[in-house]
Symmetry: C2
DNA sequence: CGGCGATTTGAATTACATCAATCTAGGTGG
DNA sequence: CCACCTAGATTGATGTAATTCAAATCGCCG
């Protein structure tokens, strides 16, 4: 899981440790490297001129991000929690001398991000805040492989981050959490420890996310 | 513009013509090829079990789509207007024998889609329907290079498609068009011919979208 | 223990979705 | 060529869910 694209290991690389809140890169920076999350959580986000904050993706262990070929970053990347990353200089792409397997790994890393962004767009398709939040929690549960571990989910990010990810006001998110708890879909053991009620067995083992 | 990644031309390929409304591929299909739009418009979309339709991306001439490495398509692709596509079999990725330039082109095509999806997520960050619609129209104007051509924009897609792209009800979209026209931001010459009021010159020539 | 940011709660407002009906345009066939 | 038909688009009325502003509470860190 943490090494979804082992072909990348052949690239020049090194570990970097990012403290919570630190930016990995900023919007409009010139891309110099891409990264793989080893531990922690990094969010890709943009700031509108009107102060609005929108998180495009949460990158969890195993995810690759920052593989941008344009002249400037379209998003910023910020450590949501203290994180350890593997840094791959982008220069390898122009240097040449890469074997086919590695190049395929790069394409795979890029398309993985596509899948992630597509899922997000799909999640925002939900009109009701409750549906959006449940969708998010299901996603997180899948990523943390807690489908059958008693439903304990531990969001590594703040409520504000979740709100900015789901396109909701913080207050709305807070109220939605409360409403889901009343409905018995969820129990907030701690602000970062949630217990999901087991989902109905229908397509619990979805064939499409198996090899993801 | 239509040949943003000329390296791909070295791949095995052929032209296909898709009539309006025809699916290029469906959700959960096994990916066999990826495509470049030569003319027309293709939308990438998903259908929720509750009947909700969400368009993730409009692919216009020059855009590449369908470069999926997973075992199944995450989205469907449907011709919004009659379209001509170039079809590239995905087998080339496993066959090997690709030169570095072509592989880089593939990575570039994949990251282009990332940019497109990111822009969309950013657009959905707008809370007000008016802002979302203006963002969409600005995007379309950019893609049609009409910044300085008198502001004529010709959306190739229906109102329903725009609504499903922006996550709005069709009725809301219709009312929002009307409201923008009242405010003088827009004139609806014809349902598929809009005239945008020139934007304030502030960052009209944004350095970041120069080389797209 | 104190303080500041994060989160929650409350009240009022507003924008959007929904349901329903009307209107328009494009296409077909007589 | 025109009447008809249907899908797409608009308009209206109404309910509701989310935003906003404001204040209280919680919780972490020093």
């Amino acid at each position: 899981m943490t090494d979804r694209h082992p072909a990348l290991d052949e690239l020049r690389q090194w570990r970097v440790t990012i403290p919570k809140g630190r930016m990995v890169y900023d919007e409009s920076d010139t891309p110099k490297a891409f990264y793989r999350v080893e531990s922690g959580c990094v969010s890709l986000l943009v700031h509108s001129e009107d102060g609005h904050r929108q998180i495009l993706a949460f990158c969890l262990p195993g995810d690759t991000f920052g593989l941008d070929l344009a002249g400037a970053r379209a998003t910023a990347a910020e450590a949501t929690t203290a994180s350890v990353l593997t840094r791959f200089p982008l220069a390898v792409l122009t240097d040449g001398g890469l074997n086919a397997r590695t190049m395929t790994g790069l394409v795979a890393a890029a398309t993985d991000m596509n899948v992630s962004l597509s899922m997000h767009l799909r999640g925002l398709g939900h009109v009701l805040a409750e549906d959006r939040l449940m969708w998010f929690l299901d996603w997180l549960a899948d990523r943390q492989s807690v489908s059958r571990h008693g439903g304990l989910v531990q969001p590594p990010m703040s409520r504000r981050d979740i709100a900015d990810f789901l396109g909701l006001a913080q207050e709305t998110l807070s109220r939605t959490f409360a409403r889901l708890e009343v409905q018995g879909l969820l129990r907030v053991s701690d602000i970062r420890r949630l217990i999901l009620r087991p989902r109905r067995p229908t397509n619990s083992d979805n064939p499409f996310r198996q090899a993801a």
